[in-house]
């Protein structure tokens, strides 16, 4: 009887001594993992929000750029069927570019002449 009791008590203590720390470790591990996972998902959410905002800003910038370009081009807007308007546009552009140095104008002239020759030979 006494022997059985001693065995039971020893077994219980042994199990307690081995299982309890393992259980504590396991539960602790699960809690830490849960905290880490929550943190990760929060970070992911924030990153997604920031990415969305970034793409919206990019889109807005592109739209602004397009609008700006259209506005600029508005000055050189051509009315295909009205030569006078096209002529006016050309005069305006020539005026706008008149700030260029003679050297730069010479360069453009050379490039255009070079390309005219090329185009002429294409048509031949």
């Amino acid at each position: 009887m006494l022997g059985n009791n001693v065995i039971q008590i020893s077994t219980g203590k042994l199990l307690g001594a081995t299982l309890l720390p393992s259980s504590i470790l396991l539960v602790g591990g699960i809690i830490i993992w849960q905290i880490w996972r929550n943190k990760q998902s929060r970070l992911q959410t924030k990153t997604d929000v920031l990415n969305d905002e970034l793409s919206q800003i990019k889109k807005q910038m592109a739209d602004l750029q397009t609008a700006n370009d259209k506005a600029k081009s508005g000055e050189s807007m051509q009315t295909e069927n009205t030569p006078s308007a096209a002529q006016h546009t050309n005069q305006k552009n020539a005026g706008k570019k008149s700030g260029k140095s003679p050297g730069e104008m010479g360069l453009f002239e050379y490039l255009i002449e070079d390309n005219i020759q090329l185009r002429k030979s294409t048509l031949e």
């Binding site: 397009t66 081009s73 570019k97 090329l118």
Partner: protein, 337 residues
């Protein structure tokens, strides 16, 4: 009354990579290749008449790939012409999505320094349906223009098909101021492939594998980390030391460039040679090769030394210069074309 908007674009049409920059601030770079489905199965799987750029490369096993440019210019056959059209149209559509029928596109396209009249005519001919006005310019000159470098400097543009050199001296560069070499990216790829096969005969290589190796390990400096790469031999993977192979192969490219730089320096006005030697700008994809600027400087040691630097925006520097030229060209000049 119908109104139209004029869009300006700068294009760097390259053998391996093409880039576009538009007046709307958009820019895009893509591989200059087109893939057509090989058979009905690939046609059904891809559900497209053709794929372009990286998408085509990813699906290359199902496609007949076309690289329409060779040595920096459009190959002279109908397939290449059509492929170039597709690439250019796609670049324009992607960067100018709001382009309408009545709008106009004015473009400047960079070509190799000494491209023939026929090569330039080909570009004009294949773009006439979707580009209203086109200006063809020397690619290295476009790079210089983009950087506002008209003073004494030497542009070395290392592309895939050609390496173009342009000597700037405050005036419009003539033919004597320019060199176009076929020793460029593709040449280097072939040299590396041959050298690896010579040392490891049964190793399996593809152009893509070589490109990855070159971009990761390619160098021309005296010292570099060992280049140990993983390759397959009859399907079995293994590690191969190609440090020496890469070094020797890359030197064949840098030596050729060095000689061209030397010749451009040598026949320049002696009073300005020193300035020229100290203002060498290396552009193009090949400028990513580790130590290339040092190798060029080294080639000038016997000439009194030099200073070379690599450009930052490698992918778009040519297209940026083209766009700048395109936008600054007065409207009345455009009307002459």
């Amino acid at each position: 009354m119908s109104t139209s908007t004029i869009y300006h674009i700068g294009i760097d049409l390259g053998t391996s990579q093409s880039s576009i920059v538009t007046s709307t601030g958009k820019r895009l770079s893509t591989k200059t290749c087109v893939g057509h489905p090989k058979d009905v199965i690939s046609q059904k799987r891809l559900n497209k008449s053709h794929l372009l750029g990286e998408e085509a490369l990813k699906n290359r096993l199902s496609l007949n790939l076309v690289w329409p440019l060779a040595d920096g210019v459009v190959r002279d056959d109908a397939v290449a012409h059509e492929a170039t059209q597709l690439v250019l149209k796609d670049l324009i559509q992607q960067t100018l999505p709001s382009l309408e029928k009545e709008d106009k596109v004015y473009a400047t396209i960079g070509v190799p320094a000494l491209a023939s009249v026929q090569d330039k005519k080909t570009i004009i001919s294949i773009t006439k349906d979707f580009i209203d006005k086109i200006l063809i310019v020397s690619e290295p000159f476009a790079v210089a223009y983009g950087m506002d470098r008209f003073d004494e400097c030497l542009i070395v543009d290392i592309g895939a098909g050609t390496t173009d050199l342009c000597r700037m001296s405050g005036s419009i560069p003539g033919e004597d101021d320019q060199r176009s070499l076929t020793e460029a990216g593709n040449f280097l790829d072939q040299t590396i492939t041959d050298a690896i096969h010579q040392q490891y005969p049964d190793v399996q290589l593809t152009p893509q594998i070589i490109k990855v190796i070159k971009e990761k390990h390619g160098y021309v400096s005296d010292n570099n980390d060992p280049a140990i790469v993983s390759l397959t031999k009859k399907g079995q993977p293994g590690s191969y030391d190609i440090t020496e192979i890469l070094h020797k192969s890359c030197l064949t490219l840098s030596d050729a460039i060095g000689q061209a730089v030397q010749s451009l320096v040598a026949d320049f006005d002696p009073d300005f040679q020193e300035i020229l030697r100290h203002n060498i700008i290396v552009a193009g994809g090949g400028s990513r090769l580790m130590g290339i600027e040092k190798a060029i400087e080294k080639s000038l040691d016997s000439y009194g030394g030099g200073k070379a630097s690599c450009i930052q925006d490698v992918e778009f520097c040519g297209a940026n210069g083209c766009l700048k030229m395109c936008q600054e060209m007065p409207e009345n000049y455009w009307d002459k074309i």
